[in-house]
C-alpha cells in the first residue's frame, strides 16, 4: 500500500514536471530532407530556421516562452514525410517550417491541416500544395507554374530555341515543373519531341540521352535536382551534345559544380532574385557561415519563413493554428528578401523568378 502510494505520488510529480516543461517552451517543427543526394540543398533551410529561432530566443523567445526546435529528417521520401509529420504532431509542435521536397510537403500538409497547425514551406514549389484550400498551409517561395513560365520564355524568346527535350525525375516537383514548362514552351510555338521521366536514383542517363541526341533538340529542360542534374550535364557533354541545359530551383546547389568540376557552361536555372548580395542579408550570412559553413540556395528562405511565422505567433498572441494563420495573412512581413505578404491561398503575393547561369563554378544572376 505504502509503496503504491509513493509510486502514484512520484508519478503525479513526474506528470506535473512534464506539464510544466511543456508549458515553458513553444515547439516549432523543422522538417526536410537531410540524408541522401538532396542532403546538401535540404539542410540549408533547416539551418536558416535554427538560426532564426536562436535569435528569437536570445531576445526572449515568443509569447514570453523559449522556442524549441524539433528537427526531423524526411529523407526526401513521401512515406517518411508522413511518419515525420505524425511524429511532429504528437511531439506537440505548434507550427512547422518545412518540408523541402514538394513530394513530401504535399502529403505532410494534410496531416498538419487535420491537426490544426500551421505549415510554412521554405522551398516546396509544386502548385498543388496551396491549391487544396488548406487555410493553414503557406509557401514562402515561388511556384513551379511561375518558374516554368519564366524558363520557357527565356529559352523561346531570349535564346530563340525551337526544339527542347524535357526530362524529369518522376517526383511531384520534377513532373510538375516540367509539365508547366512543356505547356508554355509549346504555347510559344516551340517543339518538345522528348518528354520523359527517369527514376530519381538512376545515374546512368545515357539511354535517354541517346533519344535526346536523335530528336534534334538543341536544349534540354531538366525538372529535377542538382545531383542528377550534374550527372546529366556530364553525360550530355560526353555524348557530344553542346546545347543548353536549363533547370529550376532544384538545380541550385554548389554540389552541382563539384560534379561538373566548375566547368559547366550554358547551364541556366530559375530562382528567386539574388538576396545574398543585398546589404541587409550580410549579417545573417556572417552568423550562418560561422555556425554551419557555406550557405545553401535556400538558407535565407528558411530564415525568412521562420521569422515571419514567429512574428505572426507573437502578433496572434496565441499558438492556435487558425489564429496564427489569420495573423500571417493580415499584414506584410519585413524579411531579408524584402517585404513579403501571403495571399488567400497561402502563396507569396509577389514571388519573382529570374534566370541564373553557371559561371566559373558558381551560379550567378544572368
Amino acid at each position: 500500500m505504502k509503496i503504491s502510494t509513493r509510486l502514484s505520488l512520484a508519478a503525479t510529480l513526474l506528470a506535473l514536471a512534464a506539464c510544466q516543461k511543456q508549458e515553458d517552451t513553444i515547439k516549432i517543427g523543422l522538417a526536410g530532407v537531410q540524408t541522401g543526394t538532396d542532403a546538401a540543398i535540404g539542410t540549408a533551410p533547416i539551418n536558416g530556421s535554427k538560426l532564426a529561432i536562436e535569435e528569437w530566443n536570445a531576445k526572449g523567445g515568443v509569447l514570453g516562452k523559449r522556442i524549441e526546435a524539433v528537427v526531423r529528417d524526411d529523407e526526401g521520401k513521401p512515406k517518411t514525410a508522413n511518419a515525420v509529420a505524425q511524429e511532429l504532431v504528437s511531439a506537440g509542435v505548434v507550427a512547422v517550417v518545412g518540408h523541402f521536397n514538394s513530394g513530401c510537403s504535399v502529403p505532410a500538409s494534410e496531416i498538419y491541416d487535420q491537426a490544426g497547425i500551421v505549415q510554412v514551406t521554405p522551398a516546396s514549389t509544386n502548385p498543388k500544395l496551396t491549391e487544396r484550400g488548406f487555410q493553414r498551409t503557406f509557401r514562402a517561395c515561388g511556384r513551379d507554374d511561375q518558374q516554368g513560365i519564366v524558363a520557357a520564355g527565356f529559352l523561346r524568346d531570349s535564346l530563340k530555341t525551337e526544339i527542347v527535350a524535357v526530362l524529369n525525375d518522376k517526383t511531384a516537383y520534377g513532373q510538375g515543373i516540367s509539365e508547366v514548362f512543356k505547356k508554355t514552351f509549346e504555347g510559344k510555338g516551340g517543339k518538345v519531341p522528348v518528354f520523359e521521366g527517369v527514376a530519381s536514383e538512376e545515374k546512368d542517363l545515357r539511354g535517354v540521352i541517346a533519344n535526346i541526341v536523335k530528336s534534334g533538340a538543341t536544349a534540354v529542360y531538366w525538372g529535377g535536382m542538382f545531383v542528377q542534374g550534374g550527372v546529366l550535364y556530364n553525360q550530355l557533354r560526353e555524348a557530344g551534345f553542346k546545347g543548353a541545359l536549363v533547370g529550376g530551383d532544384g538545380l541550385f546547389d554548389n554540389e552541382f559544380h563539384k560534379t561538373t568540376q566548375g566547368k559547366a557552361d550554358s547551364v541556366f536555372l530559375t530562382f528567386g532574385p539574388d538576396f545574398n548580395s543585398l546589404p541587409s542579408a550580410q549579417g545573417f550570412l556572417k552568423s550562418y557561415r560561422a555556425k554551419y559553413g557555406p550557405e545553401g540556395s535556400y538558407s535565407i528562405y528558411g530564415y525568412d519563413a521562420t521569422n515571419a511565422l514567429l512574428a505572426a505567433i507573437q502578433k496572434a498572441g496565441t499558438t492556435d493554428g487558425a489564429k496564427v494563420a489569420a495573423a500571417l495573412r493580415s499584414q506584410s512581413w519585413k524579411t531579408l528578401a524584402g517585404e513579403i505578404a501571403f495571399d488567400a491561398k497561402g502563396d507569396l503575393k509577389s514571388a519573382g523568378y529570374v534566370m541564373w547561369t553557371a559561371k566559373g563554378g558558381k551560379f550567378v544572376p544572368r
Binding site: 537531410q34 540524408t35 541522401g36 543526394t37 542532403a39 546538401a40 518522376k170 520523359e196 521521366g197 527517369v198 527514376a199 536514383e201 538512376e202 545515374k203 546512368d204 545515357r206 539511354g207 535517354v208 541517346a210 533519344n211 541526341v213 545531383v227 550534374g230 550527372v231 556530364n234 553525360q235 560526353e238 555524348a239 557530344g240 554540389e255 563539384k258 560534379t259 568540376q261
Partner: protein, 301 residues
C-alpha cells in the same frame, strides 16, 4: 540503334558481374545474400578512397593509381564480403532458411547506415581526373559513340568471366567449390574444408562486385550510400532470370536485363525502363520456372 546496344551492353556487363556474386552464394549455400548490393556499394567507396590514398602517396599517376585503386577496392570489398559471412551467416548455417535471409536484409541496412553515418549523408564525386580520361576518350562508329570506359567495362567483364570459368572448372579450389555446392556433408567427408570454401566464395563474389563498383563509380560519376540498392536489385533479378545458382546464367541474365532496359528507353521511353526487366523476369519464370539456363530450382527462398 547501335548506341542503344552499346549502352545496354555496358549496363548489362555491370549487372552480370554483380549477379555472379548472388548466384555463386546461392549455388553453394542455397541462400540469397541480400547484402551483396551493399558490398558493391562498398567497392565503389573503396575505389574512391583507394584512389585518393594513392594520389596522396604517389602523386597523380593515372594508370598506376587506377590499378592500385582497383586493387584496394577489391581488397576492401572482399574483406567485407568475408566479414559478412562470418558475422551474419556462419552461425546460422544449420538454422531455418528464413534466419540467414533476415540477417542478410539486416546486414544490408546496417552497411548502408554505416556508410551514411561514417562517410557522408550526401553524394561523393568520383575523382574527375581519373574518370575523365576514360569517359572522354571515345571512338565513333557511324552515329554512335563508344567510350574507352565502356570498352574497359566489356573487356573486364569478359576477362573476369573467363577467369572465373577457369577457376571453377580447372583448379583445385574450383573443384572444392563445386563439390561443396553439390553436397556439403559429402564434401566435408572427402576432406574438403567446407567453411574455408564458403568463405572463398564470398570473397570471390565480393571482388567481382568491387570491380563492377569501381567501373560504375566512373560511369555515373557520383556515388552515395544508397547506390547499391538499385544495382543489387537488378543484378539479383538477372541472377534469377538466368537461373539462380547457374554461373553462365547470371552473366546472360545480366546482359538481357541491361539490353532490355536500354531498348525500352529508346522505344517506349525511359519512363518504362524500370519495368521491362521485371516483366521479362515474370514471363521467363512463368514459362521456365528455373530461369533461362537454370539447373537448380529456387524452391528455397
Amino acid at each position: 540503334m547501335l548506341q542503344v546496344l552499346i549502352n545496354g551492353l555496358a549496363r548489362g556487363s555491370v549487372y552480370a558481374l554483380v549477379a555472379l556474386g548472388y548466384t555463386m552464394v546461392y549455388g553453394i549455400l542455397g541462400m540469397i545474400n541480400f547484402a551483396h548490393g551493399e558490398v558493391f556499394m562498398l567497392g565503389m567507396f573503396g575505389a574512391v578512397f583507394g584512389i585518393g590514398l594513392c594520389t596522396t602517396l604517389f602523386g597523380s599517376h593515372l594508370v598506376l593509381n587506377l590499378v592500385l585503386g582497383l586493387v584496394l577496392a577489391v581488397a576492401f570489398a572482399s574483406g567485407w564480403g568475408w566479414a559478412n559471412e562470418r558475422i551474419a551467416y556462419r552461425k546460422l548455417r544449420g538454422a531455418n532458411l528464413l534466419a540467414p535471409l533476415s540477417s542478410a536484409i539486416g546486414l544490408s541496412i546496417v552497411l548502408q547506415n554505416f556508410v551514411m553515418l561514417a562517410v557522408t549523408k550526401g553524394k561523393v564525386d568520383f575523382p574527375h581526373y581519373y574518370s575523365d580520361t576514360l569517359t572522354k576518350t571515345f571512338w565513333t562508329i557511324g552515329s554512335a559513340r563508344v567510350t574507352l570506359l565502356q570498352i574497359v567495362m566489356f573487356a573486364s567483364t569478359g576477362i573476369l568471366c573467363l577467369g572465373l570459368w577457369w577457376l571453377i572448372q580447372k583448379t583445385r579450389m574450383g573443384t572444392a567449390l563445386r563439390a561443396t555446392a553439390q553436397d556439403r556433408t559429402a564434401a566435408a567427408l572427402m576432406g574438403i574444408p567446407v567453411d574455408k570454401t564458403i568463405s572463398r566464395t564470398f570473397v570471390l563474389g565480393s571482388a567481382l562486385a568491387a570491380v563492377a563498383g569501381m567501373m560504375v563509380g566512373m560511369y555515373q560519376g557520383v556515388l552515395a550510400f544508397d547506390s547499391g540498392y538499385a544495382v543489387g536489385l537488378k543484378a539479383f533479378t538477372a541472377a534469377v532470370l538466368g537461373g539462380i545458382g547457374n554461373i553462365p546464367g547470371a552473366v546472360l541474365g545480366g546482359f538481357v536485363i541491361g539490353l532490355a532496359e536500354d531498348l525500352t528507353s529508346s522505344t517506349l521511353g525511359s519512363d518504362w525502363k524500370q519495368t521491362t526487366g521485371f516483366v521479362i523476369l515474370i514471363l521467363v519464370l512463368v514459362l521456365r520456372p528455373r530461369g533461362i539456363l537454370g539447373e537448380r530450382v529456387s524452391d528455397k527462398v
